[in-house]
Symmetry: C2
Subunit: 203 residues, 2 copies
Amino acid sequence: MSPTGEGLRERRRRETRQEIHAAALRLARRHGFDKVTIEMISTEAGVSPRTFFNYFPNKEAAAVFGPRELSSEAAAAFVAAGPARPGEVLRDLTRLLLRQLAESPPERRDMHDIFALAHEHPGVLAAMLAQFDTFRTGVAATVAERMGRQPDDEVPNLIASVALTAVRTGLERWSRDEPVDGEDSPVPYVERSVALLHTLLAP
Amino acid sequence: MSPTGEGLRERRRRETRQEIHAAALRLARRHGFDKVTIEMISTEAGVSPRTFFNYFPNKEAAAVFGPRELSSEAAAAFVAAGPARPGEVLRDLTRLLLRQLAESPPERRDMHDIFALAHEHPGVLAAMLAQFDTFRTGVAATVAERMGRQPDDEVPNLIASVALTAVRTGLERWSRDEPVDGEDSPVPYVERSVALLHTLLAP
DNA sequence: GAACATTGTGCAGAGCGTGCAATAATCGAT
DNA sequence: ATCGATTATTGCACGCTCTGCACAATGTTC
Protein backbone atom coordinates (compact mmCIF):
# COMPACT_ATOMS: atom_id res chain seq x y z
CA MET A 1 0.00 0.00 0.00
CA SER A 2 1.34 3.44 -0.92
CA PRO A 3 2.44 6.06 1.61
CA THR A 4 -0.73 8.09 0.99
CA GLY A 5 -2.76 5.34 2.56
CA GLU A 6 -4.45 4.81 -0.77
CA GLY A 7 -4.04 1.40 -2.35
CA LEU A 8 -3.64 0.79 -6.06
CA ARG A 9 -7.18 -0.42 -6.36
CA GLU A 10 -8.58 2.63 -4.69
CA ARG A 11 -6.58 4.96 -6.90
CA ARG A 12 -7.56 3.14 -10.08
CA ARG A 13 -11.15 3.26 -9.09
CA ARG A 14 -11.00 6.98 -8.50
CA GLU A 15 -9.25 7.51 -11.82
CA THR A 16 -11.71 5.39 -13.75
CA ARG A 17 -14.65 7.23 -12.27
CA GLN A 18 -13.07 10.55 -13.17
CA GLU A 19 -12.31 9.24 -16.66
CA ILE A 20 -15.88 8.21 -17.28
CA HIS A 21 -17.14 11.52 -15.98
CA ALA A 22 -14.80 13.44 -18.27
CA ALA A 23 -15.77 11.27 -21.23
CA ALA A 24 -19.47 11.87 -20.62
CA LEU A 25 -19.02 15.63 -20.41
CA ARG A 26 -16.77 15.72 -23.46
CA LEU A 27 -19.19 13.76 -25.58
CA ALA A 28 -22.14 15.83 -24.40
CA ARG A 29 -20.32 18.97 -25.53
CA ARG A 30 -19.49 17.40 -28.87
CA HIS A 31 -22.75 15.75 -29.83
CA GLY A 32 -25.42 17.10 -27.49
CA PHE A 33 -26.43 15.30 -24.33
CA ASP A 34 -29.25 13.18 -25.68
CA LYS A 35 -27.31 11.95 -28.68
CA VAL A 36 -24.79 10.36 -26.34
CA THR A 37 -25.24 6.70 -25.40
CA ILE A 38 -23.72 4.69 -22.60
CA GLU A 39 -21.86 2.70 -25.22
CA MET A 40 -20.21 5.86 -26.59
CA ILE A 41 -19.18 7.01 -23.14
CA SER A 42 -17.78 3.61 -22.24
CA THR A 43 -15.76 3.40 -25.42
CA GLU A 44 -14.44 6.93 -24.97
CA ALA A 45 -13.41 6.10 -21.42
CA GLY A 46 -11.89 2.76 -22.38
CA VAL A 47 -14.12 0.50 -20.35
CA SER A 48 -16.96 -1.88 -21.12
CA PRO A 49 -20.57 -0.68 -20.99
CA ARG A 50 -21.12 -3.03 -18.13
CA THR A 51 -18.35 -1.36 -16.17
CA PHE A 52 -19.95 2.02 -16.69
CA PHE A 53 -22.82 0.84 -14.55
CA ASN A 54 -20.45 -0.23 -11.84
CA TYR A 55 -19.59 3.44 -11.42
CA PHE A 56 -22.75 5.36 -12.26
CA PRO A 57 -26.44 4.50 -12.38
CA ASN A 58 -26.99 6.48 -15.58
CA LYS A 59 -25.37 9.04 -17.85
CA GLU A 60 -26.89 12.01 -16.04
CA ALA A 61 -25.05 11.06 -12.88
CA ALA A 62 -21.84 10.57 -14.85
CA ALA A 63 -22.12 14.00 -16.40
CA VAL A 64 -22.64 15.92 -13.14
CA PHE A 65 -20.24 13.92 -11.01
CA GLY A 66 -18.39 15.96 -8.42
CA PRO A 67 -17.30 15.93 -4.77
CA ARG A 68 -19.83 14.39 -2.42
CA GLU A 69 -18.28 15.08 0.95
CA LEU A 70 -16.14 17.40 3.02
CA SER A 71 -12.46 16.61 3.26
CA SER A 72 -12.14 14.61 6.42
CA GLU A 73 -9.33 16.64 8.03
CA ALA A 74 -11.16 19.92 7.63
CA ALA A 75 -14.33 18.35 8.92
CA ALA A 76 -12.49 16.94 11.93
CA ALA A 77 -11.11 20.36 12.84
CA PHE A 78 -14.56 21.84 12.44
CA VAL A 79 -16.11 19.29 14.74
CA ALA A 80 -13.31 19.60 17.26
CA ALA A 81 -14.03 23.30 17.70
CA GLY A 82 -16.93 22.12 19.80
CA PRO A 83 -20.47 23.33 20.45
CA ALA A 84 -21.39 26.94 19.80
CA ARG A 85 -24.41 29.05 19.01
CA PRO A 86 -26.05 28.28 15.65
CA GLY A 87 -24.95 31.58 14.15
CA GLU A 88 -21.32 30.86 14.97
CA VAL A 89 -21.53 27.36 13.61
CA LEU A 90 -22.93 28.72 10.37
CA ARG A 91 -20.10 31.23 10.16
CA ASP A 92 -17.49 28.53 10.72
CA LEU A 93 -19.17 26.29 8.20
CA THR A 94 -19.14 28.90 5.45
CA ARG A 95 -15.47 29.51 6.17
CA LEU A 96 -14.79 25.82 5.93
CA LEU A 97 -16.62 25.53 2.64
CA LEU A 98 -14.85 28.57 1.22
CA ARG A 99 -11.46 27.21 2.19
CA GLN A 100 -12.22 23.90 0.59
CA LEU A 101 -13.41 25.69 -2.53
CA ALA A 102 -10.23 27.73 -2.66
CA GLU A 103 -8.03 24.68 -2.24
CA SER A 104 -9.61 22.51 -4.88
CA PRO A 105 -11.66 24.73 -7.15
CA PRO A 106 -13.66 23.05 -9.91
CA GLU A 107 -12.97 23.86 -13.55
CA ARG A 108 -14.99 26.86 -14.56
CA ARG A 109 -15.60 25.40 -17.99
CA ASP A 110 -16.93 22.15 -16.55
CA MET A 111 -19.11 23.98 -14.10
CA HIS A 112 -20.46 26.15 -16.87
CA ASP A 113 -21.31 23.20 -19.05
CA ILE A 114 -22.90 21.24 -16.24
CA PHE A 115 -25.18 24.11 -15.27
CA ALA A 116 -26.01 24.62 -18.94
CA LEU A 117 -26.86 20.95 -19.38
CA ALA A 118 -28.96 21.04 -16.24
CA HIS A 119 -30.82 24.00 -17.61
CA GLU A 120 -32.00 22.24 -20.73
CA HIS A 121 -32.23 18.62 -19.60
CA PRO A 122 -34.51 17.96 -16.62
CA GLY A 123 -32.82 14.66 -15.93
CA VAL A 124 -29.45 16.33 -15.60
CA LEU A 125 -30.90 18.93 -13.27
CA ALA A 126 -32.35 16.17 -11.14
CA ALA A 127 -29.02 14.36 -10.98
CA MET A 128 -27.21 17.56 -10.06
CA LEU A 129 -29.63 18.40 -7.31
CA ALA A 130 -29.43 14.87 -5.96
CA GLN A 131 -25.68 15.06 -5.82
CA PHE A 132 -25.84 18.42 -4.13
CA ASP A 133 -28.28 17.04 -1.64
CA THR A 134 -26.04 14.11 -0.83
CA PHE A 135 -23.33 16.59 -0.01
CA ARG A 136 -25.77 18.59 2.08
CA THR A 137 -26.75 15.55 4.09
CA GLY A 138 -23.13 14.80 4.87
CA VAL A 139 -22.47 18.37 5.90
CA ALA A 140 -25.55 18.35 8.10
CA ALA A 141 -24.26 15.22 9.83
CA THR A 142 -20.92 16.90 10.49
CA VAL A 143 -22.64 19.98 11.85
CA ALA A 144 -24.85 17.80 14.00
CA GLU A 145 -21.82 16.04 15.39
CA ARG A 146 -20.23 19.30 16.39
CA MET A 147 -23.40 20.56 18.01
CA GLY A 148 -24.12 17.32 19.81
CA ARG A 149 -27.41 16.83 17.98
CA GLN A 150 -28.94 14.11 15.88
CA PRO A 151 -28.08 14.07 12.15
CA ASP A 152 -31.73 14.53 11.22
CA ASP A 153 -32.25 17.39 13.66
CA GLU A 154 -33.68 20.52 12.09
CA VAL A 155 -31.00 22.93 13.25
CA PRO A 156 -27.96 21.30 11.65
CA ASN A 157 -29.96 20.63 8.52
CA LEU A 158 -31.06 24.23 8.22
CA ILE A 159 -27.51 25.41 8.80
CA ALA A 160 -26.19 23.11 6.10
CA SER A 161 -28.97 24.09 3.72
CA VAL A 162 -28.38 27.78 4.13
CA ALA A 163 -24.63 27.51 3.69
CA LEU A 164 -24.94 25.30 0.64
CA THR A 165 -27.58 27.52 -0.89
CA ALA A 166 -25.01 30.27 -0.86
CA VAL A 167 -22.41 27.98 -2.39
CA ARG A 168 -24.75 26.84 -5.12
CA THR A 169 -25.89 30.35 -5.96
CA GLY A 170 -22.35 31.68 -6.01
CA LEU A 171 -21.09 28.83 -8.17
CA GLU A 172 -23.94 29.29 -10.61
CA ARG A 173 -23.20 32.94 -11.12
CA TRP A 174 -19.47 32.27 -11.37
CA SER A 175 -20.11 29.66 -14.02
CA ARG A 176 -22.10 32.15 -16.05
CA ASP A 177 -19.59 34.99 -15.86
CA GLU A 178 -16.95 35.62 -18.47
CA PRO A 179 -13.52 34.52 -17.28
CA VAL A 180 -11.38 37.48 -16.25
CA ASP A 181 -7.60 37.47 -16.44
CA GLY A 182 -5.98 36.44 -13.18
CA GLU A 183 -9.34 36.33 -11.43
CA ASP A 184 -10.77 32.90 -11.93
CA SER A 185 -11.79 31.79 -8.47
CA PRO A 186 -15.35 31.04 -7.47
CA VAL A 187 -14.61 32.18 -3.93
CA PRO A 188 -15.59 35.86 -4.27
CA TYR A 189 -18.86 34.83 -5.86
CA VAL A 190 -19.75 32.57 -2.99
CA GLU A 191 -18.67 35.22 -0.48
CA ARG A 192 -21.00 37.62 -2.18
CA SER A 193 -23.90 35.20 -1.87
CA VAL A 194 -23.12 34.65 1.80
CA ALA A 195 -23.14 38.39 2.39
CA LEU A 196 -26.47 38.78 0.59
CA LEU A 197 -27.91 36.00 2.67
CA HIS A 198 -27.00 37.82 5.84
CA THR A 199 -28.59 41.03 4.62
CA LEU A 200 -31.71 39.01 4.03
CA LEU A 201 -32.33 37.79 7.52
CA ALA A 202 -30.54 40.42 9.55
CA PRO A 203 -31.61 43.76 8.10
CA MET B 1 -66.66 26.47 -20.98
CA SER B 2 -67.46 26.07 -17.30
CA PRO B 3 -67.76 29.01 -14.89
CA THR B 4 -64.38 28.18 -13.37
CA GLY B 5 -62.66 29.13 -16.57
CA GLU B 6 -61.49 25.56 -16.85
CA GLY B 7 -62.58 23.63 -19.91
CA LEU B 8 -63.50 19.98 -19.95
CA ARG B 9 -60.21 19.02 -21.52
CA GLU B 10 -58.22 20.85 -18.92
CA ARG B 11 -60.12 19.26 -16.09
CA ARG B 12 -59.80 15.77 -17.51
CA ARG B 13 -56.13 16.25 -17.98
CA ARG B 14 -55.69 17.34 -14.41
CA GLU B 15 -57.72 14.39 -13.18
CA THR B 16 -55.83 11.88 -15.28
CA ARG B 17 -52.51 13.17 -14.04
CA GLN B 18 -53.70 12.96 -10.46
CA GLU B 19 -55.03 9.47 -11.13
CA ILE B 20 -51.72 8.24 -12.47
CA HIS B 21 -49.87 9.80 -9.56
CA ALA B 22 -52.18 8.13 -7.06
CA ALA B 23 -51.84 4.80 -8.83
CA ALA B 24 -48.06 5.01 -8.79
CA LEU B 25 -47.95 5.80 -5.09
CA ARG B 26 -50.49 3.12 -4.24
CA LEU B 27 -48.62 0.44 -6.12
CA ALA B 28 -45.31 1.50 -4.63
CA ARG B 29 -46.80 1.07 -1.16
CA ARG B 30 -48.21 -2.31 -2.08
CA HIS B 31 -45.31 -3.90 -3.94
CA GLY B 32 -42.24 -1.76 -3.29
CA PHE B 33 -41.15 0.95 -5.67
CA ASP B 34 -38.82 -1.05 -7.86
CA LYS B 35 -41.22 -3.91 -8.37
CA VAL B 36 -43.66 -1.51 -9.98
CA THR B 37 -43.62 -1.17 -13.76
CA ILE B 38 -45.06 1.50 -16.01
CA GLU B 39 -47.45 -1.09 -17.33
CA MET B 40 -48.79 -1.79 -13.83
CA ILE B 41 -49.27 1.88 -13.11
CA SER B 42 -51.02 2.46 -16.41
CA THR B 43 -53.40 -0.42 -15.89
CA GLU B 44 -54.15 0.68 -12.34
CA ALA B 45 -54.89 4.19 -13.57
CA GLY B 46 -56.95 2.98 -16.50
CA VAL B 47 -54.85 4.36 -19.32
CA SER B 48 -52.46 2.91 -21.86
CA PRO B 49 -48.75 2.73 -21.14
CA ARG B 50 -48.18 5.14 -23.97
CA THR B 51 -50.47 7.65 -22.30
CA PHE B 52 -48.49 7.41 -19.09
CA PHE B 53 -45.59 8.98 -20.93
CA ASN B 54 -47.77 11.82 -22.12
CA TYR B 55 -48.05 12.82 -18.47
CA PHE B 56 -44.77 11.85 -16.85
CA PRO B 57 -41.28 11.13 -18.12
CA ASN B 58 -40.82 8.19 -15.74
CA LYS B 59 -42.30 6.54 -12.68
CA GLU B 60 -40.20 8.56 -10.24
CA ALA B 61 -41.80 11.76 -11.45
CA ALA B 62 -45.24 10.18 -11.25
CA ALA B 63 -44.67 9.11 -7.67
CA VAL B 64 -43.55 12.49 -6.35
CA PHE B 65 -45.94 14.62 -8.38
CA GLY B 66 -47.19 17.70 -6.57
CA PRO B 67 -47.87 21.41 -7.05
CA ARG B 68 -45.34 23.19 -9.22
CA GLU B 69 -46.39 26.81 -8.90
CA LEU B 70 -47.96 29.42 -6.68
CA SER B 71 -51.66 30.02 -7.06
CA SER B 72 -51.89 32.90 -9.48
CA GLU B 73 -54.21 35.10 -7.40
CA ALA B 74 -52.02 34.94 -4.33
CA ALA B 75 -48.95 35.58 -6.43
CA ALA B 76 -50.61 38.58 -8.07
CA ALA B 77 -51.42 40.13 -4.71
CA PHE B 78 -47.87 39.49 -3.58
CA VAL B 79 -46.42 41.18 -6.63
CA ALA B 80 -48.84 44.09 -6.39
CA ALA B 81 -47.61 44.93 -2.90
CA GLY B 82 -44.65 46.47 -4.70
CA PRO B 83 -40.95 46.79 -4.02
CA ALA B 84 -39.64 46.50 -0.49
CA ARG B 85 -36.49 45.65 1.36
CA PRO B 86 -35.33 42.04 0.95
CA GLY B 87 -36.15 41.15 4.53
CA GLU B 88 -39.73 42.34 4.13
CA VAL B 89 -40.14 40.49 0.87
CA LEU B 90 -38.96 37.32 2.54
CA ARG B 91 -41.43 37.83 5.37
CA ASP B 92 -44.28 38.36 2.90
CA LEU B 93 -43.22 35.34 0.92
CA THR B 94 -43.20 33.02 3.89
CA ARG B 95 -46.66 34.29 4.81
CA LEU B 96 -47.84 33.62 1.29
CA LEU B 97 -46.44 30.11 1.31
CA LEU B 98 -47.94 29.37 4.72
CA ARG B 99 -51.35 30.60 3.63
CA GLN B 100 -51.23 28.45 0.54
CA LEU B 101 -50.16 25.48 2.63
CA ALA B 102 -53.03 26.06 5.03
CA GLU B 103 -55.56 26.33 2.21
CA SER B 104 -54.57 23.22 0.33
CA PRO B 105 -52.52 21.04 2.63
CA PRO B 106 -51.08 17.85 1.17
CA GLU B 107 -52.04 14.47 2.60
CA ARG B 108 -49.78 13.64 5.48
CA ARG B 109 -49.75 9.99 4.51
CA ASP B 110 -48.72 10.78 0.94
CA MET B 111 -46.05 13.16 2.10
CA HIS B 112 -44.73 10.58 4.50
CA ASP B 113 -44.53 7.90 1.86
CA ILE B 114 -42.92 10.17 -0.69
CA PHE B 115 -40.19 11.21 1.71
CA ALA B 116 -39.69 7.60 2.69
CA LEU B 117 -39.40 6.53 -0.94
CA ALA B 118 -36.97 9.36 -1.60
CA HIS B 119 -34.91 8.18 1.31
CA GLU B 120 -34.31 4.73 -0.08
CA HIS B 121 -34.46 5.29 -3.82
CA PRO B 122 -31.96 7.82 -5.18
CA GLY B 123 -34.00 8.25 -8.35
CA VAL B 124 -37.06 9.25 -6.37
CA LEU B 125 -35.02 11.71 -4.34
CA ALA B 126 -33.72 13.24 -7.55
CA ALA B 127 -37.22 13.57 -8.97
CA MET B 128 -38.48 15.14 -5.77
CA LEU B 129 -35.67 17.65 -5.64
CA ALA B 130 -36.19 18.51 -9.29
CA GLN B 131 -39.84 19.16 -8.69
CA PHE B 132 -39.05 21.27 -5.68
CA ASP B 133 -36.56 23.21 -7.71
CA THR B 134 -39.08 23.89 -10.44
CA PHE B 135 -41.31 25.38 -7.80
CA ARG B 136 -38.42 27.40 -6.46
CA THR B 137 -37.62 28.83 -9.87
CA GLY B 138 -41.20 29.97 -10.33
CA VAL B 139 -41.27 31.55 -6.89
CA ALA B 140 -37.98 33.31 -7.60
CA ALA B 141 -39.48 34.73 -10.79
CA THR B 142 -42.46 36.06 -8.86
CA VAL B 143 -40.21 37.61 -6.24
CA ALA B 144 -38.07 39.12 -8.97
CA GLU B 145 -41.13 40.64 -10.57
CA ARG B 146 -42.17 42.27 -7.34
CA MET B 147 -38.69 43.64 -6.72
CA GLY B 148 -38.19 44.85 -10.27
CA ARG B 149 -35.24 42.54 -10.82
CA GLN B 150 -34.32 39.90 -13.34
CA PRO B 151 -35.59 36.35 -12.71
CA ASP B 152 -32.03 35.05 -12.55
CA ASP B 153 -30.88 37.75 -10.15
CA GLU B 154 -29.24 36.46 -7.00
CA VAL B 155 -31.43 38.28 -4.51
CA PRO B 156 -34.82 36.89 -5.53
CA ASN B 157 -33.28 33.47 -5.92
CA LEU B 158 -31.77 33.52 -2.47
CA ILE B 159 -35.04 34.73 -0.99
CA ALA B 160 -36.94 31.93 -2.69
CA SER B 161 -34.34 29.36 -1.68
CA VAL B 162 -34.40 30.35 1.96
CA ALA B 163 -38.17 30.38 2.18
CA LEU B 164 -38.50 27.03 0.46
CA THR B 165 -35.77 25.49 2.57
CA ALA B 166 -37.94 26.25 5.55
CA VAL B 167 -40.96 24.77 3.83
CA ARG B 168 -39.13 21.62 2.87
CA THR B 169 -37.64 21.14 6.31
CA GLY B 170 -40.96 21.74 8.03
CA LEU B 171 -42.81 19.38 5.71
CA GLU B 172 -40.24 16.69 6.21
CA ARG B 173 -40.52 16.81 9.97
CA TRP B 174 -44.31 16.95 9.77
CA SER B 175 -44.33 13.89 7.55
CA ARG B 176 -42.26 11.98 10.09
CA ASP B 177 -44.32 12.89 13.13
CA GLU B 178 -47.11 10.78 14.45
CA PRO B 179 -50.50 12.20 13.59
CA VAL B 180 -52.10 13.96 16.56
CA ASP B 181 -55.85 14.28 17.03
CA GLY B 182 -57.20 17.55 15.72
CA GLU B 183 -53.73 18.79 14.94
CA ASP B 184 -52.86 17.62 11.48
CA SER B 185 -51.63 20.74 9.74
CA PRO B 186 -48.09 21.14 8.45
CA VAL B 187 -48.28 24.87 9.10
CA PRO B 188 -46.87 24.93 12.64
CA TYR B 189 -43.95 22.79 11.51
CA VAL B 190 -43.05 25.18 8.73
CA GLU B 191 -43.49 28.14 11.06
CA ARG B 192 -41.06 26.52 13.43
CA SER B 193 -38.49 26.10 10.67
CA VAL B 194 -38.93 29.71 9.64
CA ALA B 195 -38.34 30.82 13.20
CA LEU B 196 -35.22 28.67 13.49
CA LEU B 197 -33.94 30.14 10.29
CA HIS B 198 -34.25 33.63 11.68
CA THR B 199 -32.41 32.68 14.85
CA LEU B 200 -29.66 31.40 12.62
CA LEU B 201 -28.81 34.58 10.85
CA ALA B 202 -29.98 37.13 13.35
CA PRO B 203 -28.78 35.96 16.76
C1' DG C 1 3.06 -17.68 -3.41
C1' DA C 2 -1.32 -19.14 -1.59
C1' DA C 3 -5.67 -17.88 -0.18
C1' DC C 4 -8.77 -14.13 -0.26
C1' DA C 5 -11.23 -10.05 -1.74
C1' DT C 6 -12.40 -6.91 -5.20
C1' DT C 7 -13.05 -5.40 -9.91
C1' DG C 8 -13.88 -5.96 -15.03
C1' DT C 9 -16.47 -8.07 -18.62
C1' DG C 10 -19.86 -10.71 -21.55
C1' DC C 11 -24.31 -12.34 -21.98
C1' DA C 12 -29.18 -12.52 -21.61
C1' DG C 13 -33.49 -10.46 -20.90
C1' DA C 14 -37.06 -7.45 -18.98
C1' DG C 15 -38.32 -2.88 -19.06
C1' DC C 16 -37.93 2.02 -20.52
C1' DG C 17 -38.87 5.86 -23.44
C1' DT C 18 -39.74 8.06 -28.05
C1' DG C 19 -41.22 8.96 -32.91
C1' DC C 20 -44.88 8.27 -35.85
C1' DA C 21 -49.48 7.87 -37.60
C1' DA C 22 -54.27 6.71 -36.96
C1' DT C 23 -58.43 7.53 -34.33
C1' DA C 24 -61.44 9.89 -31.28
C1' DA C 25 -62.88 13.59 -28.45
C1' DT C 26 -63.35 18.60 -27.35
C1' DC C 27 -63.38 23.38 -28.69
C1' DG C 28 -64.53 27.69 -30.95
C1' DA C 29 -66.85 29.56 -34.39
C1' DT C 30 -70.64 30.17 -37.47
C1' DA D 1 -76.42 22.08 -34.67
C1' DT D 2 -72.60 21.67 -37.58
C1' DC D 3 -68.04 21.98 -39.14
C1' DG D 4 -63.14 22.57 -39.23
C1' DA D 5 -59.28 23.07 -36.04
C1' DT D 6 -57.04 21.62 -32.05
C1' DT D 7 -55.76 18.31 -28.67
C1' DA D 8 -55.75 13.67 -26.35
C1' DT D 9 -55.37 8.50 -26.53
C1' DT D 10 -53.54 4.58 -28.29
C1' DG D 11 -50.77 0.91 -30.83
C1' DC D 12 -46.67 -0.28 -32.95
C1' DA D 13 -41.83 -0.54 -33.68
C1' DC D 14 -37.37 -0.08 -32.25
C1' DG D 15 -33.15 1.19 -29.92
C1' DC D 16 -31.35 2.02 -25.49
C1' DT D 17 -31.14 1.30 -20.41
C1' DC D 18 -30.10 -1.30 -16.51
C1' DT D 19 -29.66 -5.50 -13.72
C1' DG D 20 -28.45 -10.30 -12.33
C1' DC D 21 -25.33 -13.75 -12.92
C1' DA D 22 -21.10 -16.22 -13.76
C1' DC D 23 -16.35 -16.19 -14.51
C1' DA D 24 -11.92 -14.27 -15.51
C1' DA D 25 -8.45 -10.92 -14.16
C1' DT D 26 -6.19 -8.20 -10.88
C1' DG D 27 -4.94 -6.40 -6.25
C1' DT D 28 -4.27 -7.57 -1.29
C1' DT D 29 -3.00 -10.11 2.86
C1' DC D 30 -0.56 -13.31 5.37
